[in-house]
């Protein structure tokens, strides 16, 4: 019986080996084009692409093949075509340079587009100068790993064109639309419109990525429930990171930094429910976290360092918990446009807390009010910002903090920490 099984297995292996053949493509070989190789390939085959430059227009993959590059072959779209379009399941794309996709106002021409696929992977690829970078639509169980996606959009374009919208001239780096169970891991996205874009993507994970110098958002996240994004760095983006219209997001260990400009946010939250923001570092942003209609979210053990506003929270955000966060050297700690306080602030460290701790339990005996009067004014009358650093404002803030009348008197941390909360990094 065992022998029989052995033979069966052996037979199966040899069968599959002989079945899954490898087709080699190189500029001087018998098969010199990828399109030709795709024509003769069967499901399960491997197409090995050797070093060279391939300009073949739009390459459509309709079979479950592996496209493996050797020595980083360049596949060029000549600024006219979508470079690769994948419409089959189980396709693996690895080790290619994909560049110069076309640009269109009607279609989303991408460096590589996966349309209605399952179990596709794209790994170790370099995408340069594409309109859209890696584009997944209506796909499941895909993996995007170790890619470098560098687009044509430079931040200077945005700065030089105050008032004119030129963002529409560029596409997103990694764009996922209507997907499920996706993994975006260890990619580096630069100079696109949005670095990583998620719309209607469920049960997915974004991990260890770097997204920087994008015109708009480093990560743009909409209608994407039950997702995680962990260990990413979002740096120097035109408008930071936006997470919107979403339930159950887990955001942990990310760095949101240097999103500094007139309309920049470290993390913009809009219509977020039941989410968890944990162990993030929010450093040097104009607005650290901007919360508009964010509810039942836990914000715990984060560092807010040197931001303009560490936290801007609007009155429609309710039942959030802020605990064990460090607010250090921000111009404004909390700004709100509401008189009420529907959120809980407890056991945070505020670097400008001036209270004392008589019993030495590490918790200040005097409650801390994180909203300054000036912060309140600026939120309701933005023009009052011209009085920044006026002595008059300093006096107003000082008196108001001691005898609060205008600022939401219930918005306070009753148990402010005396020392910085050390969470394990």
């Amino acid at each position: 019986m065992k022998k029989l099984l052995c033979i069966k297995v052996l037979f199966l292996i040899t069968y599959t080996l002989s079945y899954a053949k490898t087709i080699t493509v190189c500029p001087d070989c018998k098969i010199s084009s990828i399109k030709k190789a795709l024509q003769i390939a069967e499901n399960g085959d491997t197409i090995l692409i050797k070093k060279g430059i391939y300009k073949e227009g739009n390459i459509v993959v309709k079979k479950s093949v592996k496209l493996i590059g050797e020595g980083y072959p360049v596949i060029d779209g000549q600024k006219k075509y979508e470079v690769i379009t994948v419409k089959a399941n189980n396709v693996v794309v690895k080790g290619l340079v994909i560049q110069n996709s076309g640009k269109s106002d009607i279609e989303d021409l991408a460096g590589i587009k996966f349309f209605k696929t399952k179990n596709c992977r794209i790994e170790d690829c370099i995408l340069r100068n594409n309109f859209w970078g890696i584009y997944f639509a209506a796909s499941k169980n895909g993996v995007i790993k170790n890619n470098k996606v560098f687009g044509p959009a430079k931040l200077e374009y945005l700065k030089s064109a105050f008032g004119t919208r030129i963002e529409t001239n560029f596409g997103n780096g990694i764009h996922l639309w209507h997907c499920k169970n996706m993994l975006v891991e260890s990619n580096h996205v630069k100079n696109h419109r949005d670095g990583i874009y998620f719309e209607f993507v469920k049960n997915s994970t974004i991990i260890n990525n770097i997204s920087e110098k994008n015109l708009r958002y480093g990560l743009h996240f909409m209608f994407s429930h039950k997702d995680n994004y962990i260990n990413n760095i979002f740096r120097n983006n035109g408008a930071g990171v936006a997470v919107m219209y979403t339930k159950f997001v887990y955001m942990a260990n990310n760095r949101f930094e240097y999103n500094w400009g007139m309309a920049s946010y470290g993390l913009l939250l809009k219509e977020i429910y039941d989410s968890y923001i944990y162990h993030n570092v929010i450093y040097k942003n104009t607005t650290g976290i901007f919360a508009d209609n964010t509810n039942r979210t836990v914000i715990k053990e984060n560092d807010f360092l040197e931001n303009g506003w560490a936290l801007r929270i609007w009155g429609n955000s309710q039942n959030n918990i802020f605990k064990h966060n460090n607010f250090i050297a921000n111009t404004f700690n909390v700004a709100t446009n509401s008189f009420e306080n529907p959120n809980t602030y407890t056991e945070n460290y505020w670097s400008d807390y001036k209270g004392y701790d008589l019993n030495g339990d590490g918790i200040g005996d005097v409650p801390y009010r994180p909203v300054s009067l000036f912060g309140y004014f600026t939120e309701n009358y933005p023009l009052s910002l011209v009085l920044t650093r006026s002595f008059f404002i300093y006096l107003l803030d000082y008196t108001e903090r001691n005898f609060p009348m205008i600022i939401p008197s219930k918005l306070m941390d009753k148990r402010p920490l005396m020392r910085r909360y050390e969470w394990s990094r």
Partner: protein, 263 residues
């Protein structure tokens, strides 16, 4: 003759302990700030707040004190064949130049000392706009002090009105701006507020420096309007023009009063 007088006034100021104290104050303060903050941009941010507070106050108070104290000397000079205007001008220049030098040295020496050891960008332009703003404030408020001291014989009245001028420019004026912003919040107020703030020398100095600091990004749309204004040649010439008007208006009124005054 007036050069001689100016020279005398200038060196006479350095016999005064106030000027030395003023210099040491800025020296120690700036050194401490550099020692702790280690970044010129941050030092400027903190110094700015002190400068717009301290310079007008000290200029007003010291200016009034000097004018009252040298009353006997002025009376002596008046008995000599010297033009009244050159007495007044040399007194004014002697005071302002020595105060400005004390201030400028006090903030520049630590800067030059620390700048090599710091890893942050040196921010020359930012730092020198701060120094220039400080010098302008000195010139403006000493002119006011002299005007007040010539206007009132009574010292108490003189000091009182000096402090009133200070309160008005640093506190009350900003309060009025804030009131207008809040009361007329439904109107597009950017331009009126811009106009109002360039009418107050302290506000010009403050906004001019703030727009160069990185907190300018916090100002959002308002900041963009201001930035646009201050970036144009018109904006720069208007704001400098206003600063000069604020120097010459009290100076000339004071001079006129001084020439007509019956000692």
């Amino acid at each position: 003759m007036s050069i001689k007088l100016l020279k005398y006034e200038f060196f006479n100021m350095y016999r005064n302990k106030w000027i030395i104290f003023y210099f040491i104050f800025f020296l120690v303060l700036t050194t401490a700030l550099f020692y702790f903050a280690k970044s010129p941009a941050k030092v400027v941010a903190t110094l700015l707040q002190l400068i717009i507070l301290v310079i007008p106050l000290t200029s007003l108070i010291l200016g009034t004190i000097f004018m009252y104290d040298s009353r006997n000397f002025i009376e002596l000079l008046l008995s000599l064949p010297i033009k009244r205007s050159s007495i007044y001008i040399s007194k004014y220049l002697g005071t302002t130049i020595s105060l400005s030098i004390s201030f400028a040295l006090g903030v520049i020496i630590p800067y030059l000392f620390f700048i090599k050891s710091l890893e942050e960008p040196p921010e020359y332009f930012l730092y020198f706009s701060l120094v220039i703003a400080g010098i302008f404030l000195t010139f403006i408020f000493v002119a006011f002090a002299f005007l007040i001291a010539t206007f009132f014989e009574d010292r108490v009245k003189g000091f009182g009105s000096s402090i009133l001028v200070w309160l008005y420019t640093t506190l009350i004026y900003d309060g009025i701006i804030l009131f207008i912003i809040i009361y007329f919040k439904d109107y597009p107020l950017e331009k009126p507020v811009l106009l109002m703030s360039i009418l107050n020398p302290i506000d010009i100095a403050r906004i001019f420096v703030i727009l160069k600091l990185d907190i300018a990004a916090l100002l959002g749309y308002t900041g963009a309007v201001f930035q646009k204004f201050f970036d144009t040649k018109l904006g720069i010439s208007v704001s400098f023009g206003v600063l000069f008007v604020w120097i010459f208006f009290p100076l000339i009124v004071g001079l006129y009063k001084f020439r007509k005054k019956d000692f």
